[in-house]
């Protein structure tokens, strides 16, 4: 217990002067400060008409990635589901059949992949855990819907557009266009 009295600083409590004790002057001073801000730079962003850019590390809604040839990267290893503290991820694995090499990159793939966005706490542990760079958290946020069911995102909601067949959608999803 050596540090008990080191460098403690008491708050200064000086009594108020006469001018400071005048109610009217205080109200006027407050008004002056407030109104002077009309002429200063506005820090407000007029959301949703205006949007501010998000940083690349922002943890928004999930995206299932594809490789350059448009094949799904996920191999249904389940590491993301194990890492998830909220138990938001469920999946079912399936074997890749001959002839599906252009769809799935690995021999096993996720036939069903669901993330419950209402359970998810957007911690980013699934992204950390994934060995195939298959899942990452995008910069989209604030989804809105009328039903709880629609917040369970399946593969169609999660997969990014195919760079080969839907290049325009992909560009839009990446925020390039």
């Amino acid at each position: 217990m050596q540090a008990l009295t080191t460098r403690a600083k008491a708050v200064d409590r000086r009594p108020m002067t006469f001018l400071e004790r005048l109610y009217l002057w205080n109200i006027l001073k407050g008004m002056l400060i407030t109104f002077s801000h009309i002429f200063k730079k506005q820090p407000t962003i007029q959301y949703p008409e205006q949007k501010r850019p998000f940083s690349p590390v922002f943890r928004g809604l999930h995206v299932l990635n594809r490789d350059e040839e448009g094949r799904e990267r996920c191999t249904a290893c389940g590491l993301c589901a194990v890492a998830c503290p909220a138990e938001a991820i469920t999946m079912e694995a399936a074997e890749r059949l001959p002839g599906e090499e252009n769809l799935y990159r690995e021999e096993k793939y996720a036939a069903r992949y669901e993330i419950n966005m209402l359970r998810c706490i957007f911690c980013g542990l699934c992204e950390e855990a994934c060995p195939k760079d298959a899942i990452y958290l995008s910069e989209t946020f604030a989804p809105a819907s009328f039903t709880r069911q629609s917040f369970i995102y399946g593969k169609p909601d999660l997969l990014i557009p195919d760079p080969k067949t839907q290049p325009a959608e992909l560009a839009a999803a990446k925020g390039l266009s």
Binding site: R7, A10, V11, N26, V57, I121, L125
Partner: protein
């Protein structure tokens, strides 16, 4: 739960404040016994937002449970995570790299400033002043932007991992923080002119809600609430963790113990936090931002305790380990709970309007009280 409104045998009025009430900052439920406008009794009822975080943590691994604690005291979520990471590191004797320690402390102090900013705005709003809220949020926004750029989220940062931090700093970090410090210094005078120096404000704060030093100790208060009553209780000074022992900063003390003292202590603490950030921001050492740890963490058998100073006071994390991958039992000592218990003592005999003012200076975050 009591009837919506009622009287007891002595003819006193019994009313509910909350759980959905704008003056209680969240879902605090108070049952007041009033004689006219004078407060006779204040009974906080807890449990409305109980999510059993402690129990939840028992089924989560030592990597995962850190992120759940962000939801306790959401205004200083980074410091909660810090406490948990420190406990795990202490138990496993993980050496945290210097760079990570610097980053953690800078982030802690930025979180503290952001939390105090929000408190300042919300407390002025409790007293009926609406504009300060926007002033406070303008500066706080700059901090949340820095947080978002670095950690990936604005409120629940999840930046801690056992052994360091999750990602390295982004290249603009120092520039951003320095421009924030400049902005903050230019605006701080405005805070004092707008609120602190106002006679109406001072009349409502001075001599209201007095908590003596003895009472502060016996109720187990901590943080700015206890320091305003003259108790030396800054964990950063008493039991320094990370690099706090090498830093130059003052522990702000007052002896009056009234609402105004608590207000002043927090206001000055923000400046001390700025001072700490200024000392560190230019000297962040190069190197690793994360120590090498195993993928699956196993704590040795035993009991581990670590305390840190959050924006509200002393947060303690107590882990009992059976040697497995999940905690056997986990307990958080949250500052808000003890501070809330002193409320009745502070406001007994005062008018109902003073209750809101005194409660504002306690800086209660309900999910922290009611985990």
């Amino acid at each position: 739960m009591v009837e919506e409104i009622g009287t007891n045998t002595e003819g006193d009025l019994i009313i509910n404040v909350g759980p959905q009430h704008p003056a209680t900052h969240g879902v605090l439920h108070l049952v007041l016994t009033l004689s006219g406008e004078t407060i006779k009794k204040v009974e906080p009822h807890l449990g409305y937002i109980h999510r059993s975080i402690e129990k939840m943590c028992e089924s989560l691994s030592y990597r995962q449970f850190i992120y759940v604690t962000s939801r306790m005291d959401y205004l200083s979520s980074h410091i909660n995570n810090h406490a948990c990471a420190l406990t795990v590191e202490k138990a496993m004797q993980i050496e945290v790299p210097q760079r990570a320690q610097y980053i953690r402390v800078i982030m802690d102090e930025l979180t503290r400033i952001a939390s105090h900013e929000l408190w300042w705005g919300a407390m002025a709003m409790d007293l009926g002043a609406f504009t300060p809220f926007f002033h406070a949020f303008r500066e706080r926004e700059t901090i949340t932007d820095i947080m978002e750029k670095t950690c990936g989220a604005r409120l629940t940062m999840n930046y801690m991992v056992p052994g360091g931090v999750m990602v390295d700093l982004h290249p603009d970090f120092q520039k951003d923080v320095k421009s924030f410090i400049q902005l903050y210094k230019s605006k701080f005078e405005e805070y004092n002119e707008l609120v602190t120096g106002n006679i109406i404000f001072q009349n409502r704060m001075k001599g209201i809600g007095i908590l003596s030093k003895e009472d502060a100790i016996s109720y187990g208060c901590s943080g700015p609430v206890a320091r305003a009553s003259g108790v030396h209780c800054d964990i950063r000074k008493l039991y320094p963790y990370e690099i706090y022992s090498q830093l130059e900063f003052d522990e702000i003390l007052d002896t009056a113990g009234d609402s105004f003292a608590r207000y002043m202590v927090r206001l000055k603490e923000m400046q001390q936090s700025i001072r700490i950030v200024e000392q560190l921001i230019d000297n962040i050492p190069e190197g690793e931002f994360q120590a090498k740890t195993k993928a699956v963490l196993k704590l040795p058998k035993g009991e581990f305790y670590q305390r840190v100073e959050t924006a509200r006071g002393e947060l303690g994390v107590y882990i009992v380990s059976e040697g497995g991958t999940t905690p056997y039992r986990i307990k958080f000592r949250s500052p808000g709970f003890s501070n809330l218990s002193a409320l009745e003592h502070m406001v007994k005999g005062l008018k109902i309007g003073d209750l809101v003012a005194a409660m504002g200076t306690l800086d209660l975050v309900i999910p922290d009280i009611d985990r």
